[in-house]
Amino acid sequence: MVADTQSDKELIIQFQNGNQTAFETLYNRYCDRLYSFLVYQIGNHTADDLFQDVMMNVQRHLLKFNPDGNFRAWLVKIAINKIRDHHRKTNRMKKIFRVHTNDNPEREDVNELSDPEVTDPGDVALDFVNSEISKILNTAIQKLPEKQREVVNLHYLMDLSFREIAEVLNCSINTISARARYGLRNIKKILGPKLVNELK
């Protein structure tokens, strides 16, 4: 049995010395947050498969991971690479089969800081007014443009600082801060000020 009070570094060293239970403790520490991050980035169906892929990668490469490194950031990097691979594959398939969707690729640009299309602020919130608060927040986050959603998820789910996110995504910290700002503003807009007050 490995105590959950141990640091990531201690657990990684134990795993590298052959203690499989240490990996299980690390897994239990991050699995839900990592899975949720994948769900909010790419949706439920694909998230299940990608989650298995990411964890297999982690288990395979953790033996060579430098225990002094940032494990959470490394975990997120693996997940983001998997998501990008997935996007590349699906985009290729869309091109091959000439599938036309309503997705607007412009919204995925690096410079995207636009507001999401909200015709009637508060509508989403009213639809979910009787469900759990977390689900309401999840729904709002999923409506954000991808780059903003990514930063919000990495900060609030994966617990990465904005500086860490900038390193993982290879962006300037000011870009990340701007995306976070627009992300938070848009969540409020999606939920509507009334619901935000009720949820507080």
Partner: protein, 155 residues
Amino acid sequence: MDCENIKELLPLYLTDELDDQQSMAVQKHLDSCSSCRSELDNLQEVDQLLKTHLKPESAPLFRLSEKKSKKRYYYLSAVAAALVLYIIFSAVQPDKPELTWENNRITELMEINDNLDILDSDYRQLAINGTTLPAEDEELYSIGEDVDYLQTLEN
């Protein structure tokens, strides 16, 4: 710094990720700008909401035993490689008799037969000397006789 620059730094101000100089500049600006203060309040509101209420979903089970199946894969690969080598080895030595299960069994039976022959002669000698054999030895003796009989058939 103008308002737009300050507003872009507000998330970093909230998480205390600005250096001292930037942090002081933002603080000084906030003291005199209601628009930026209002922006900070809005961000803080949602920030608190997410920190308090955002809960991750439960992850599906991950097959942590994946390593074991890998070991099994290596084991099976080793067995397969050994079989291939055996087949190649057998092919390049065609004169060597095949060691099939049946051949092994015949060799084993022949050894038993030889042992029974030895026992047989021992017990015959004992019988000649008038010694009474125990029941199980009687049985062995009769097997020996059967073997003798089989050998006469062979000849």
